[in-house]
């Protein structure tokens, strides 16, 4: 039944704390035009649009895709808008892929964006609602206690997070689109950066960025006509669990484990660390790298930090993670998930530039959101499955 789906074009904007040179229209068009250019296609070649972004309160426009659709050549076409919290960029790509896999469309343009500078993310994420317990200090205040719990459970060395941050920030120096770049950054600089939400330091934290990501997805026929190598979607999966319930393991959530399990089964992966060449995963605070290494089955429980320690997740390691510099280096929230998926695609296309992992044949793209409760993932390969 399902048709093969391939990524035939990828584009992203320059990410920055304030892209004051463009409107929301200009931002999404910048990414979309680059994806179209990569695929050597024009607006008219696109059959449908799938747009993703995180909360509308960030930009102060309710369902902004309604005013952005025609700016993306969408007039007269189907348009969907996905919103699944921080995982949305990934889920948006999955919805777009499903339109191709279902045989509904031949070529779909998918775009995810956030223009956080139009307001203030800390404000939007910490609005106190009547009658409810408050979120004290945005995402950092929410996730820091979980990180402390991980450190305790795994008995992880306290500098693991620093090592992750250093690695991702060095990787970002190879990524022309990255928002945060610290040339010559050292372990000491990360270690000495201020504690914000102890145990999270400033340089272990993601920025707030303006940016967009776009991909053109196509069926086998479209891929055949594409000028560059395609990334073939081997499998997609998503899982959700409630934010809070008695006995919920928020450190190593079952939704993530189940999602990975289904993903690997669909992609024919039995030994993830051997079968997957590199992974681009959603790490908004450095400690989430070892946490997700366990959750994704790359490391046994309580041993994810060893991968960081041993250099396995560095460029040149046996399981490179966040080659682009990751969410720690660019974080336009709604687009952050899609950027992970797009990086995985560019790795198998051999188009990842300076941060290319040579010989990548299979890569993982991963996103999560909410209170570590929404997961979306895909595996892409250099050949159809």
């Amino acid at each position: 039944m399902a048709e093969n789906c391939a990524v035939i074009g990828v584009g992203q904007t320059q990410h920055d704390s304030k892209r004051i040179d463009v409107s929301q229209v200009g931002l999404v068009r910048e990414a979309a035009l680059r994806a179209l250019e990569d695929a050597e296609l024009d607006w008219k070649d696109i059959d449908a649009l799938v747009i993703g972004k995180a909360p509308d309160l960030f930009e102060g426009v309710m369902m902004p895709e309604l005013f952005l659709a025609d700016a993306l050549g969408g007039a007269g076409k189907p348009m969907l808008r996905v919103h699944t919290a921080g995982s949305v960029g990934g889920t948006t790509a999955i919805v777009a892929a499903s339109l191709v896999q279902a045989g509904v469309h031949e070529r779909v343009l998918t775009v995810a964006y956030e223009k956080q500078s139009e307001s203030n993310a800390m404000w939007a994420l910490s609005i106190q609602l009547p009658f409810q317990q408050g979120v004290v200090a945005g995402a950092g205040g929410y996730f820091a206690p979980l990180i402390r719990a991980y450190i305790r459970r795994a008995n992880a060395p306290e500098d693991t997070g620093i090592r992750v941050a250093l690695k991702d920030r060095l990787n970002a120096l190879k990524n022309p689109y990255a928002h945060l770049k610290f040339p010559g950054i050292t372990f000491e600089q990360v270690a000495q950066s201020p504690m914000l939400w102890d145990p999270i330091r400033y340089l272990e934290t993601c920025p707030s960025s303006d940016g967009a990501c776009a991909m053109v997805l196509g069926n086998a026929k479209a891929a055949k006509r594409a000028p560059h190598k395609s990334a073939w979607v081997h499998a997609t999966a998503m899982r959700t669990e409630p934010t809070q319930f008695a006995g919920r393991d928020q450190v190593n959530p079952r939704a993530g484990k189940d999602c990975a399990k289904e993903l690997y089964a669909k992609a024919g992966i039995t030994r993830p660390r051997q079968d997957i060449d590199c992974a681009e995963i959603y790490v908004p605070f450095s400690w989430f790298e070892p946490m997700w290494m366990e959750n994704l089955g790359f490391a046994p429980e309580h041993e994810g930090w060893k991968m960081t320690y041993e250099g396995a997740t560095a460029l040149g390691g046996d399981m490179p993670v966040n080659m682009s510099g990751g969410v720690l280096s660019s974080n336009p929230i709604g687009a952050s998930g899609m950027l992970r998926f797009a990086e995985a695609a560019n790795q198998v296309r051999g188009l990842a530039g300076e941060h290319q992992v040579e010989g990548t044949r299979r890569a993982l793209g991963h996103a999560y959101g909410g209170g570590s409760q929404y997961f979306s993932m895909w595996i892409v390969g250099d050949q159809p499955l």
């Binding site: 409107s23 008219k44 007039a75 500078s117 139009e118 404000w123």
Partner: protein, 152 residues
């Protein structure tokens, strides 16, 4: 707090308030800059259609658009609606019309308010002209509203 069905209930007003700062890009930036100078411009698509408000893209095709055209300042009402009781968020404190106004030289209409005094003075096809604010800042509200065109 009030008592209902023997139980208690509580209500609270929850306000979502923010002054968004929106970067507008070069095309709308030019439009707003011209508005600040009390001038109106549109953009011309490759197909020759003049868009007001201007877009950096052709809404029919998505193609980039970057040719500017002077339009207006007066235009024709293509449709309108009469607001009998303006809300606090409406641009005029007295009864007024919302209207789509096709400015001279434009192929599309833009939305704005028309201060016509009474509903009976409004009709589709009437000519209107902008009433500029005393102090312009570079925003759509630099046009306070439109008003029936002065007799020529």
């Amino acid at each position: 707090m009030d008592q209902t069905d023997g139980g208690v209930s509580f209500s609270a007003v929850h306000v979502v308030e923010y002054a968004y700062r929106r970067s507008v890009g070069s095309v709308l930036g030019r439009f707003f800059t011209e508005l600040r100078d009390r001038k109106l411009i549109g953009t011309r698509t490759r197909a020759g259609r003049v868009l007001v408000p201007p877009c950096e893209y052709d809404p029919e095709t998505g193609e980039a658009v970057d040719e500017f055209v002077n339009v207006g300042p007066a235009g024709v009402v293509t449709t309108w609606a009469w607001v009998h009781k303006p809300s606090a968020k409406h641009p005029l404190p007295r009864p007024f019309a919302w209207a789509l106004v096709r400015l001279d030289g434009a192929d599309t209409a833009m939305l704005h308010a028309v201060d016509a005094g009474s509903e009976s003075r409004m009709r589709t096809g009437m000519r209107v002209q902008p009433r500029w604010r005393e102090k312009t800042v570079g925003a759509i509200q630099d046009i306070e509203c439109f008003e029936p065109e002065a007799a020529r």
